[in-house]
């Protein structure tokens, strides 16, 4: 049972079909004038319209990159470049995605703003930081990708506006799932198709007209000079198809997932002794949950859950290939060992959730017994 949509929602059936149909449709290079080229160009236009509609932008502000991290990198690098005469400071939260933190360190002088125990960025510190001299740009996530907590991004954007600092909004965890179309306070917006069941190799980069973004790489004739190279139109078409599926029913899916996560939060806290259930229980995206189990190591817990048929992620050090604990959990003061990260998919049912909830406590007890812990 796949419960790791935080690492990527499985490719939606509709997206898979769209990709196959596009491959058979004989689309050409979208900048060519012949018929195959025009068909590809039209498909690309439609894909831009879907994204534009979801985020409240114009289609000609939308381009497609190679991944979410590529988009985050390009957005920050481009605003740092355009703002280089203003300064070099780049402000982010302490729990933004690692690609955002890395870009801030690479393209300027990174200023990270701390978060509270639920993961919400400190708005007073944010206000102070963006009003400093020499702030080139700021980047904030709509919601945290591990914990699910919604950031106060509207207020943070307002503060950036007051300071004249362009904001990059990392919409990855919320795109398609929560309504973003009515919020305009950003200069650039980034997202990832993989996060909503599109193909892994499509990132979304939206740059407002009139923003001070400059391409940090050589521009070419593709995608308004904002992302180089011929776009993979069938794959982009599949990504837009996936997003359109969410557009049609995200409220219903969100309500169902929200209830399932609520159930998981309370049942896990009630049935697993010494567990840290992390993040805001209410102000969160619908589908994510992370909890840390005291006196248990994350790698063993993940492997035992996998043996029992549940695929989950972990933010513990010595889980996955990282030697470091999740910077998100550490910044929040949450327990990092014994961490399990759950991401519900569109297909996750309440019966599956009940099965997971029934399997978890005995597995935890068994591991603790092995480690010689009560």
């Amino acid at each position: 049972m796949f419960l790791d949509s935080s690492s990527g929602e499985p490719l939606l059936a509709e997206a898979r079909r769209a990709w196959l149909e596009a491959q058979d449709a004989g689309w050409g290079d979208p900048i060519r004038l012949h018929r195959p080229g025009r068909l590809a160009s039209q498909a690309l236009d439609r894909a831009r319209e879907v994204v534009a509609h979801t985020v409240g932008a114009r289609p000609d502000e939308v381009v497609f990159t190679a991944s979410g991290p590529h988009s985050a990198n390009a957005a920050i690098a481009g605003l740092a470049l355009g703002q280089r005469r203003v300064g070099s400071l780049i402000v982010t939260s302490a729990i933004d995605h690692s690609s955002v933190l890395a870009a801030a360190e690479t393209y300027g002088d990174a200023v990270t703003i701390g978060v509270d125990g639920l993961g919400r960025v400190d708005l007073d510190a944010w206000r102070h930081a963006v009003h400093r001299d020499g702030v080139a740009t700021a980047c904030l996530q709509v919601a945290n990708h591990e914990v699910g907590t919604l950031q106060p991004y509207r207020q943070a954007a307002e503060l950036c506006g007051q300071a004249g600092v362009p904001l990059v909004l990392d919409a990855t965890a919320g795109l398609g799932r929560i309504n973003l179309a009515d919020f305009a306070g950003w200069s650039a917006l980034v997202g990832s198709a993989q996060a909503f069941g599109g193909p892994v190799s499509v990132g979304i980069l939206v740059i407002r007209r009139g923003s001070r973004w400059r391409a940090p790489y050589p521009a070419d004739d593709y995608q308004f000079g904002r992302w180089p190279g011929p776009p993979d139109v069938p794959t982009i078409h599949a990504a837009a198809t996936a997003l359109a599926v969410w557009q049609a029913d995200h409220e219903r899916v969100a309500e169902r997932q929200r209830e399932l996560i609520d159930t998981m939060r309370s049942r896990i806290a009630a049935t697993v002794p010494n567990v840290d259930v992390v993040g805001d229980p209410v102000q969160r995206v619908p589908h994510l949950l992370t909890f840390s189990v005291l006196y248990v190591d994350g790698e063993t817990l993940t492997l035992e859950l996998d043996k029992a048929g549940f695929a989950v992620a972990s933010g513990s050090a010595c889980s996955a290939s990282s030697e470091q604990p999740s910077h998100v959990l550490a910044a929040m003061g949450a327990l990092t060992h014994g961490n399990v990260r759950i991401g519900l998919t569109r297909a996750t049912t309440s019966i599956q959730v009940d099965q997971f909830l029934a399997a978890l406590p005995p597995i935890v007890a068994e591991i603790r017994a092995t480690l010689g812990v009560a």
Binding site: N274, D276, S292, L294, Y295, V296, D297, G298, E299, T300, S316, A317, C318, E323, Q324, P325, L329, A330, G333, A334, L335, T336, H337, G338, L371, G372, V373
Partner: protein, 62 residues
């Protein structure tokens, strides 16, 4: 040593000390700092020094 070992050892030692007494923990695991702070929060104990790899935890009167 699996990640939670330092914390497990600490929890064991804590059973043996009185309120007000201090335990010194040496741990070079990168998670030790955050996890000790989290453990103290979860167990209502006091982290009086956090200078990795050296930590001091005082038992609260509970």
């Amino acid at each position: 040593m699996a990640c939670p070992r330092p914390i497990i050892e600490l929890a064991r030692e804590f059973e043996r000390i009185q309120a007000g007494e201090v335990i010194e923990l040496l741990a070079d695991d990168p998670a030790a700092g955050p996890d000790l702070a989290a453990w103290c929060r979860m167990r209502g104990q006091e982290l009086i020094l956090s200078k990795p790899p050296r930590f001091l935890v005082r038992r609260s009167s509970l």
